[in-house]
Symmetry: C2
Subunit: 150 residues, 2 copies
Amino acid sequence: MEQIDDIDLQLLNILHDNSKYTVKELAKMVNLSPSPVFERIKRLENNGYIKKYIALLDAEKLNRGFIVFCNIKLKQHDRNIGNQFVSDIMKIEEVVECYNISGDYDFLMKVSAKDMKHYQDFVFNKLGSVESIGSTQSTFVMSEIKNMYG
Amino acid sequence: MEQIDDIDLQLLNILHDNSKYTVKELAKMVNLSPSPVFERIKRLENNGYIKKYIALLDAEKLNRGFIVFCNIKLKQHDRNIGNQFVSDIMKIEEVVECYNISGDYDFLMKVSAKDMKHYQDFVFNKLGSVESIGSTQSTFVMSEIKNMYG
DNA sequence: TTCTAAATTAGAATAAAATTCTTTAAATAC
DNA sequence: GTATTTAAAGAATTTTATTCTAATTTAGAA
């Protein structure tokens, strides 16, 4: 695996914050000409340092500004139950992130809803029909303080 | 505030997953010519539906694949302590997300480190010097199941 | 140090994409 | 039904991405 240098790291940090700079602009920022910057970015893409480029959307405007962290305990801890849970959760659009975690609970999900009413509906109707779930515990987000991706 | 239609929504969903499509490609996907697609995207940007465009990086390759959710209780619940905490946390690069939450703890942080050793160093040396923190509780991520941004 | 080879860069040339503009069509109001 | 507004298509233009070649730098060996 190729090694990356300081200029690569600069480019990654810049693009992580704003991927719309032109190569000419990037070149000026890192004191190079456009060609090597273009080649460096292609190399970083091909070597997997850059996974993809995405647009960040305004959750509030799209009626998804109500964030809840939802802890999940499975009914039992066998592979089938676990696989079933993962498979079910992947289909639920309100679940934007999900992690298998240490501690009292098995999974931590980040859920994105319009409001409390929507979240309640999500818990009753969506989670309610996921057979593998034993219990849940909701932690509500009152405000977002920091988000390096937002 | 302008209203968005189904095609706008399609464009948002596509760009949220991959912002590198050309307008020509997008036009084909939504069965329009490039011009109206271009104008729609500009409108979505100007109206704030699209906040920004970013590159997603490979955390593992950048030595940041060890994820921990860290719950925080403040020493006291007055405005000064709270503001001091927020100000301190914004400067710590390992903290990639932070939320003010309901429940037993005051804040939930997502922390990104190289490994357990790095995380330990983060807790001792970085969090350890944030005066406003009363107590912490760490939940370790064993695996990422779903991430609509990753 | 000096030579050689490999890698990197700069700058020009080309291809492709974004962006603008004008015309046409469609939808809505009157 | 006509007028008016809005949205779309297609062509023209500008900008950017991408490729190519030559020059420079770097690293290693003699």
